[in-house]
């Protein structure tokens, strides 16, 4: 096991930041720590890197205890490396100096040269951080963190400040780099797409508590509660009685009964020709929004109000009476 957290808790004054956090990462894992702002995810990352001290709990890194009751290994001595949200490149040093500043990085010269080539940084080595673009700074920060060949790579919101276009590119680059170096990686993000595309394991945090952990597809299709379901994209939470065929259910406190999460694309409009016509539910379109690649309608039936995604070409208007069935 590369990283194992047990019952990590942290409070600032009277505010609980983290409570009883436990999870593990295997060697080679890419773990996404997902949560909205204020969920405590960055604090957790800083605790793992040693920059913050937890109030209680233990952390084992690469089979070595780094945090327990009487021990808190200083960040300098931990076998992990953190990439900061704002990169924290040393502004007074060239890119090359930045990359080779890490302790013992000279020993990993071969790896670093390879990474520099791979990340297309060869022509930037003599520049200063303020002279290169945001995407380039990101890559420099990553290479710098990898230069000490850490067992665990930590990334704090690696894509949060990039605009959408760049985000896609950098995400692809990151995935390529992760595949290349095969370092165990733990990243923090509030963007569910990051988790879905980059991670093979996701830990969902809310208000300092772990809500769910598992593979991205697993969490997407089998959320354990309303929060996780909604975090992973637009969804309809309906009482399980309306979807008797659905096998994954959870107890929903808001409805006070078992519920299921039905994604908008899982609902189908049916025409009179369809075999499902008889079992379909009657509804009326009460609003319509156009999103480009799809349109979203809100349909109200006797007991439900549901969001449905339709292909953009479909001709419908508010007030239309339709029939739909939930395709689970």
């Amino acid at each position: 096991m590369m990283l194992s957290l047990k019952n990590i808790s942290k409070k600032y004054d009277d505010t609980t930041i983290l409570e009883d956090i436990s999870f593990t990462c295997e060697k080679g894992d890419i773990v996404g720590l997902i949560g909205s702002s204020g969920s405590g995810k960055t604090t957790l990352l800083r605790i793992i890197s040693g920059l913050e001290t937890p109030d209680s709990g233990t952390i084992k890194l690469n089979n070595e205890m780094v945090n327990d009751k009487l021990l808190c290994k200083s960040p300098e001595k931990r076998d992990c490396s953190l990439v900061f949200q704002d990169f924290a490149l040393f502004p007074n040093m060239t890119i090359s100096d930045n990359i080779f500043f890490g302790k013992g990085s000279i020993k990993n010269n071969e790896l670093i040269q390879e990474l520099i080539k791979f990340c297309d940084l060869e022509n930037l080595l003599d520049r200063y951080p303020h002279e290169i673009s945001g995407g380039e700074q990101q890559r420099v920060a990553l290479v710098r963190a990898l230069s000490i060949n850490p067992s665990l790579l930590l990334l704090d919101e690696p894509l949060s400040h990039l605009d959408n276009d760049l985000k896609q590119n950098i995400r692809n680059e990151l995935i390529k780099i992760f595949e290349k170096v095969k370092t165990t990686t733990l990243f923090v993000s509030h963007d569910i797409e990051d988790a879905m595309t980059m991670a093979n394991k996701v830990v969902v945090l809310k208000d300092g508590l772990v809500e769910q952990k598992g593979s991205p597809s697993d969490i997407y299709s089998r959320p354990l509660n309303r929060y996780v379901a909604k975090l992973f994209g637009k969804t309809n939470i309906v009482a399980a009685s309306h979807a008797p065929k659905s096998y994954h259910r959870f107890f929903d406190e808001f409805l006070n009964e078992d519920a299921v999460s039905i994604r908008p694309h899982q609902i189908e409009l049916v025409t009179s020709k369809s075999l499902k016509y008889k079992t379909a539910i009657d509804g009326k379109i009460i609003s319509k929004k156009f999103y480009g690649s799809f349109q979203e309608i809100i349909v109200k039936s006797e007991e439900l109000s549901l969001a449905i995604h339709l292909e953009p070409e479909r001709k419908i208007k508010i007030g239309d009476k339709i029939k739909f069935c939930m395709d689970l």
């Binding site: 890197s49 920059l51 009487l70 808190c72 300098e76 992990c80 490149l89 502004p91 007074n92």
Partner: protein, 538 residues
């Protein structure tokens, strides 16, 4: 702090860096704590002092402080507002000329105006002849206060001017424009928006003015107003009563503590108003011709009285007493002053850097906590610190008889560090907070030893701040008088003590030569700081 935090601190965050930093912080604080303890120590002469002079000292000190504070605020805020927000001929000149009075120590200003009280003579004579002697006496004491406050304010207002100006500039004009669009005129906007927003800065400047007023010895002695500081001198150097002087010093500290608490309260309430403006530069208000003339006239007054007239008079006196230069061995005075100030400024900056770095790099709350104690010295008048140091060295001498600390240069330098530590600490602290926070976390995460991080990253990044800090300490050290007077080694004279000694021997004219030297040596770095846009406020 909760127990778990204490545990975290002691177990995980104490290393050789933080340990040394905590130790140094406490040592710097030691002289002040020595004095403070005296509040609770019995003293034989205290009942007598309390009965005779205590209330006079207290009232005089408070009257002087309030008067100087008010007048300095008036001048400082007015100048700051017109310079920051208005456009008029000669503005560029006044922008830096209004800072120059800072080059003149309060006692030098007092000597330059040594005969200012004579101005009131005709009125006093008239009152004596037409009303009675009593009326004349009370009018006379009013004039003494009035002129002393005038003399002190004329060289202390720049503290408020500098801080308020920076605050006005930072506000930007978005809120001002909002006020204008809501139908207010510029006067209403000043009172309702700009001034309330600048309140924290004005208070910070005001507290510096108050500390300097409390610290002053030369001016109040010259004008014959017995304050706490002059009382400490009188009791210790005049009557040789150490315990009485210590007790006075302790009560002065108490007064300062109360002032600090008031200031903290006033500032924390005002904090809401800070920084809400945009960073767009202020769109200057262009003054009409008539208003420009009035503004220029008003700005000239503090510059004339605070700088031009004193410098002019001193130069005149220096010119007519040239031959004195040989008697006072000017060169060795300059050498001593420069040596002391340079040594103090370098040491203070190095120590401040070490303490700030240890606290921030290792995120040690305990070190931050002891740092806060170490910076208290700047609020404490030199005479009080000197008493604390005397007591401290006496205690050390009791244990180690061989070391004679009192009257050594080492102890004088240590006293200066205690007094001016905050001057270096504050800019370094905010500079490191602004420039090095994440960067230090990054170096830790990369496994770099702290010393490399300090030398290769932190120092290069805050180089300018370090230079500014050392210049600020240098300026303050050059002007310092009470500490040096009490603690100077035998036969060790600086420009400031020579100025004081000569003028107290009624050789005011001759004292102009060392006084002018101080002004010249201080004015150069002061102007250079202003050119760089750096000053005490950072």
């Amino acid at each position: 702090m909760e127990i778990k935090h204490v545990k975290n601190e002691l177990l995980f965050k104490t290393n050789s860096w933080t340990f040394i930093a905590i130790l140094i912080g406490l040592i710097i604080f030691l002289p002040i704590s020595e004095v403070f303890i005296q509040l609770f120590n019995p003293s034989e002469s205290w009942p007598h002092l309390k009965k005779t002079v205590f209330s006079t000292y207290l009232i005089n000190t408070i009257v002087l402080t309030i008067g100087t504070g008010l007048l300095s605020t008036l001048i400082g805020v007015f100048c700051a507002w017109v310079i920051a927000c208005c456009e008029f001929p000669l503005k560029k000149f006044f922008e830096w000329a209004l800072i120059l009075p800072l080059a003149i120590p309060t006692y030098v200003s007092a000597y330059a105006y040594f005969d200012i009280l004579e101005l009131s003579n005709p009125i006093l004579i008239w009152v004596r002849e037409n009303i009675n002697l009593e009326a004349m006496q009370s009018l006379n004491s009013f004039f003494v206060y009035f002129f002393t406050i005038l003399v002190l304010s004329s060289v202390l207002y720049p503290y408020i001017y500098l801080l308020a100006r920076a605050s006005f500039l930072k506000q930007g004009n978005q809120l001002i424009e909002a006020g204008l669009s809501l139908g207010h005129n510029i006067n209403e906007i000043f009172w309702k928006i700009a001034l309330p927003m600048a309140r924290p800065a004005v208070f910070a400047g005001l507290s510096l003015v108050i500390m300097e007023t409390l610290n002053d010895y030369g001016a109040v002695k010259h004008f014959g107003i017995p304050t706490f500081t002059s009382g400490i001198f009188r009791t210790w150097l005049g009557m040789g009563d150490m315990s009485g002087a210590l007790k006075l010093a302790a009560y002065l500290m108490l007064l300062i503590l109360i002032l600090l608490l008031i200031e903290k309260k006033a500032r924390s309430r005002a904090r809401y108003h800070e920084n809400s403006g945009s960073n767009k530069p202020f769109k200057k208000i262009i003054l009409s011709r008539k208003k420009s003339i009035v503004t220029i006239a008003l700005c000239s007054i503090p510059f004339l009285f605070g700088f031009l007239i004193p410098v002019f008079r001193l130069s005149l006196w220096a010119f007519i007493s040239q031959d004195v230069i040989r008697n006072i061995s000017l060169l060795s005075l300059v050498k001593n002053s420069l040596f002391l100030s340079v040594a103090v400024s370098l040491l203070t900056v190095v120590l401040a850097l070490l303490l700030v770095f240890s606290a921030k790099y290792f995120q040690s709350k305990l070190t931050s906590f002891t740092n806060r104690f170490a910076i208290l010295g700047y609020s404490v008048p030199g005479a009080v610190i000197a008493m604390g140091i005397l007591l401290l060295s006496a205690q050390i001498n009791k244990i180690y008889v061989d070391i004679i600390l009192t009257g050594s240069l080492l102890i004088l330098i240590f006293a200066f560090i205690t007094r001016f530590f905050a001057v270096a600490w504050q800019p370094i602290d905010s500079g490191m907070e602004k420039n090095c926070k994440n960067i230090n976390d990054a170096s830790r995460s990369l496994g770099i030893p702290a010393i490399f991080s300090l030398i290769k990253v932190n120092i290069p990044l805050i180089k300018n701040t370090l230079i500014t800090a050392s210049i600020l300490v240098f300026i303050d050290s050059m002007k310092e008088l009470p500490l040096t007077l009490i603690l100077r080694p035998f036969n060790f004279n600086t420009l400031s003590t020579a100025t004081f000694d000569l003028s107290s021997q009624a050789q005011i004219v001759e004292s102009s030569i060392p006084a002018l030297c101080i002004i010249m040596i201080v004015a150069i770095p002061l102007i250079s700081l202003n050119l760089k846009g750096k000053n005490k406020l950072q």
